[in-house]
């Protein structure tokens, strides 16, 4: 059963079309990679799926809810990792997550568990601003899974994650529906069952893992 259904998603930035009539259906538990060159529309698509942006036209249904009308309800069930980590540098690693516990309405006990998952327990008291880029990315991933979302939207999360980044992503993607934008075809092949390729904002087709390998 499809957990996410998009029909004719179109997004304009002024007179430039960023996304044009993209259709999408993702089943529960499925992992889909979004591929494409820079400027292909990957981030725009992911921001719409994460309810961070509204499409200019088109329909989007996530978990049976109209994603354009029920955005706040859906945000309890969606985790989003954006391009920039978007952390609070003056707060510690744990404080960053504790703050989002209050906003997500989840117990602070989740902080320790989540830091363990992303391998940041040892730097829980360090200021987020003093962490390496890779650690900051891990913290952004931790924030995205803090509320145990059913749908994860990941925009190039592998950037600066390091050698065990793919293992970390495989771990956080387990038992979740995932839309993952990446330039790394090998990573997409390893972590996702299906790919959607965008070119100039248009879908140029989906493929299964086997086709990507070919």
């Amino acid at each position: 059963m499809s957990i996410l259904v998009a029909n004719g998603l179109t997004h304009w930035f002024g007179s430039e079309v960023a996304l044009e009539s993209v259709d999408l259906a993702i089943d529960a538990g499925e992992h889909m990679a979004v591929l494409g060159e820079n400027g292909a529309g990957k981030t725009t698509l992911l921001r719409i799926l994460a309810t961070a942006a509204r499409p200019t036209s088109g329909r989007l249904e996530i978990m049976g809810l109209d994603a354009l009308r029920e955005r706040r309800r859906l945000r309890q069930r969606i985790g989003y990792v954006a391009h920039a980590p978007g952390l609070y540098p003056a707060l510690s690693t744990a404080e960053n997550l504790e703050f989002f516990c209050a906003l997500q309405g989840v117990s602070r006990a989740r902080v320790g568990e989540t830091l363990e998952v992303v391998g940041l327990s040892s730097v829980a008291r360090r200021a987020a601003g003093s962490l390496s880029r890779g650690m900051q990315q891990r913290l952004a991933i931790a924030r995205a899974i803090l509320h145990d979302p059913k749908l994860l939207v990941l925009d190039e999360p592998d950037a600066s994650l390091g050698s065990d980044g793919a293992d970390l992503l495989a771990n956080v993607m387990k038992d979740r529906t995932v839309v993952l934008a990446t330039h790394d075809h090998a990573l997409a092949n390893r972590l996702c069952q299906r790919t959607l390729t965008l070119r100039h904002g248009r879908s140029v087709g989906t493929a299964t893992r086997l086709h990507v390998v070919k």
Partner: protein, 221 residues
């Protein structure tokens, strides 16, 4: 859904904690208001006779410009850190997030006022009474609500430093007029202190309601 009160307090606590650790804003604001008073001290011939009519004007000028900086930073910092999107992509009410930001900015401005008011009394010999403090605090509430709302609006545009005063100052005029009158009376000029304070309360209620209604639309996009 999350508890709005808890969210507002969490947002305010986060902002205040970040300011405590970085000390970016309050020392600069305190320095600014002291410098403003020093300049005014040399620029005006103030004595015990004209102090009650001139000092309130200096007080409100310093407060208005310090407020513009304090409220402008409330959302600009989130933009610079790219953290605003993460904040708004939670199920928390945008109104609660706005209230938390406004609360933190208010506390920072009150911290600045804690320097400004004694310094004003020191420089110009004006009385530092509970009536003066009450008038300034009442005006700060409404000014914070409006200032933070416009700061949230202009945080998305490039010329925010220019736009914020242009949008905010006209709507701060009622607070400056009523607050100015209340402070003048409290410093010894003639007039009705109670009437000015009642007007400040009315403006506070009006603008708190209006900004709460508008914040949802400003922050939800």
């Amino acid at each position: 859904m999350t508890n709005s009160f808890v969210v507002a307090l969490a947002v305010a606590r986060k902002d205040l904690r970040a300011e405590w650790r970085t000390r970016e804003l309050v020392p600069a604001l305190a320095q600014f208001v002291i410098l403003a008073l020093v300049i005014a001290n040399f620029g005006f011939q103030i004595d015990s006779r004209n102090a009650p009519s001139i000092a309130p004007g200096i007080l409100w000028l310093a407060l208005v410009f310090a407020g513009l900086v304090a409220f402008g930073r409330a959302f600009a910092a989130e933009r610079e850190q790219a953290s605003l999107e993460a904040l708004l992509l939670t199920p928390a009410s945008p109104v609660a997030i706005f209230a938390g930001k406004a609360l933190a900015a208010t506390v920072l401005l009150v911290g600045c006022e804690a320097v400004l008011l004694p310094a004003l009394a020191l420089f110009f010999g004006t009385p530092l009474s509970i009536q003066v403090v009450a008038a300034v605090l009442l005006a700060t509430i409404g000014m914070a609500a409006l200032g933070c709302l416009f700061a949230a609006i202009v945080a998305r545009v490039r010329a925010r430093e220019l736009l914020l005063p242009l949008l905010t100052l006209p709507l701060w005029i009622p607070f400056i007029v009523a607050g100015g009158q209340a402070v003048q009376v409290a410093m010894g000029a003639s007039g009705s202190y109670d009437q000015a304070m009642a007007l400040l309360v009315d403006f506070d209620i009006l603008f708190l309601v209006l900004t709460s209604l508008a914040a949802r639309f400003v922050l939800d996009e």
